[in-house]
């Protein structure tokens, strides 16, 4: 994280990155290409992790696997157990069952936790101290006090002009940003962010998103984020865990997810066999048959009219035809027990 300002400079007012070389994240310029996820070492690995409060499981036999370089999105409703899981990982809550491995090491957990930056629930700062004083105090606690880095981090989150303002005078969004600066203190290797965009305006959310992507891709920082905003999370995460009622109901990586929620065309026809033949002649191989003459087609989904025309030319009666966008949000809502639209 040394000289972090030289690498990143975000404009929290405009919600964009200011440095010329880093102007567009989507181009992936200069970013380290990620190796195969399965080849990367574990940063967090839990086995049957459980935590009970008055006989009610807040975390129930959870097996989480976060690998180095992941941006791991943890999704779940309020009370699903996300924060409790984070607290257990950070050592703030003791598990009743199960084991945790941090950075491939199950023996020196306390030592490993020094490599974690975090923002849990709400930014914890002393109201009477300024941003700088608060960060200095926390850096001293961590044993990583470096005045230059503190100033750079405060600048990084767009609070450079408010550095000597007391924390009590900060707005919710400013407090959240200072929380992010705190999370980055001491050059952590793993960031755990619980609802990091709470209270931020859309532009600041965009800036945080960009910051997360930059830190992950350029510094290979592993980041675990929980958020209620699935659409926002899907813009950064490359791996997801879905929690409901304390259980991890699904853990899925981006490739798998794209496979599941990829766009498709749904056809209801009078002759499935003939339809398959016509689709194959068009180069569409990826199809799935269902009951009542339904055919799902996963290739050439942007060529709806061409497909319908070709089927009609071949004498196939089409009862209905519709194109469906891959909807990550709906997929996760269905996993959380809601109604998939």
């Amino acid at each position: 994280m040394e000289n972090i300002k030289q690498d990143f400079e975000f404009d929290f007012v405009k919600g964009e990155i200011k440095t010329a070389t880093d102007s567009d994240i989507s181009e992936n310029n200069g970013f380290q290409a990620k190796t195969d996820r399965n080849l990367r070492p574990y940063v967090i690995k839990t086995e049957n992790l459980s935590k009970f409060y008055k006989n009610k499981a807040a975390v129930d036999s959870v097996n989480v696997s976060v690998r180095q370089g992941d941006i791991y999105g943890l999704i779940g409703k309020n009370g699903a157990g996300k924060t409790t899981l984070f607290k257990i990982i950070l050592g703030l809550a003791k598990p009743d069952n199960g084991t945790i491995e941090l950075f491939n090491d199950a023996t020196s957990i306390a030592e490993s936790r020094k490599k974690i930056g975090y923002l849990i629930e709400y930014p914890s700062f002393s109201a009477k101290l300024t941003a700088f004083e608060n960060l200095k105090y926390m850096a001293l606690q961590k044993g990583c006090y470096d005045e230059k880095q503190i100033i750079e981090l405060i600048d990084l989150v767009g609070l450079g002009n408010e550095i000597h303002k007391k924390f009590s005078a900060y707005s919710l969004g400013m407090k959240q940003r200072l929380g992010l600066a705190f999370a980055l203190l001491g050059s952590p290797e793993l960031l755990i962010l619980d609802e990091p965009v709470n209270g931020l305006d859309p532009e600041a959310i965009q800036a945080v998103r960009n910051l997360i992507l930059k830190l992950n891709r350029e510094k290979n920082l592993t980041i675990v984020i929980s958020s209620h905003l699935i659409s926002e999370l899907s813009k950064v995460a490359d791996c997801y865990g879905v929690m409901a009622n304390g259980k991890l109901v699904k853990e899925i990586d981006e490739t798998e997810l794209n496979e599941i929620v990829k766009p498709f065309i749904k056809l209801v026809v009078d002759d499935q066999t003939k339809t398959i033949d016509v689709l194959k002649s068009m180069g569409i191989e990826n199809v799935k048959l269902a009951n009542n003459g339904t055919v799902y087609c996963y290739d050439l989904v942007n060529r709806l009219s061409e497909i319908s025309k070709k089927l009609a030319e071949n004498g196939i009666v089409i009862f209905s035809i519709s194109a469906n966008e891959g909807d990550i949000e709906n997929y996760f809502i269905s996993l959380l027990g809601g109604n998939r639209q």
């Binding site: 607290k87 703030l92 002393s126 044993g143 001491g186």
Partner: protein, 265 residues
Amino acid sequence: MKNLLKAELYRAKFFKSIWIGLIVVFFLTLINALVARSLSEAASGSGSELMFELMGLAYSGKSVIIGNVGATDTTFLLAIIISLIVGGSFQNGATRNAAICGNRRINVFFTYFIEAMVLTVIYILANYIFSGLFSIMIGYGTEFTANEFGTLIGRMALQFLSVLAYSSVFVMISMLIRKSGGSIGLSIGFYIVESLVISAVVLAASVAGKTGLKEVSNAFLSTCLSSTVASTLSTETILICTFVPIAWILISSLISVLTFEKRDL
């Protein structure tokens, strides 16, 4: 733990309550010294000196020095300040941060414990220094015999122990309550209720005529503290005033550590 102590030292600068507390100590010792002088003058020539002495009231410069710590003021102030620091640390997340960044919880506890003990020492010393100064200023004189000086130091040591034990209890209360407001209330409550309990025990012992019951009051800290300002100190009292506070420090620390280790943050 070194990092935590460094951080606490840095933060202490911003705790206005510490400095305000010291100013309060300054004025309270002045008031106490003036009250002692009035009492002394009232007693002068009336043959009441002995009565004042037997009542444990300040009537001389030496008594002013000892009597101020024996009075409730310093302990009362420490109850407030320790609660603000330790209880407040739980409230503003400082404890949570300390626990996460690789520190064992027992070290986090000891950081607060050491902080409270250092504050206690500073407050008692300030009390002695201010009391000594005012005692000289209002004309009690400065001369001590070697024997008197030894007694004074001995009483001071016992007072230190008792007030340190109180501070240890205030740390425990703050670590159990985890909020500054609640901790202040309960710490002051403990201090007041403890004295009331002793009075009740002594009264019950007198009514029932059971001297054994009266000895129960020896296990309380306020008994120890008031014993240090009594005119005479028996060997038994010295032993009680030594071991009772140590027991309170050990027990309250043990409760603090056990609950802190067990509870979620």
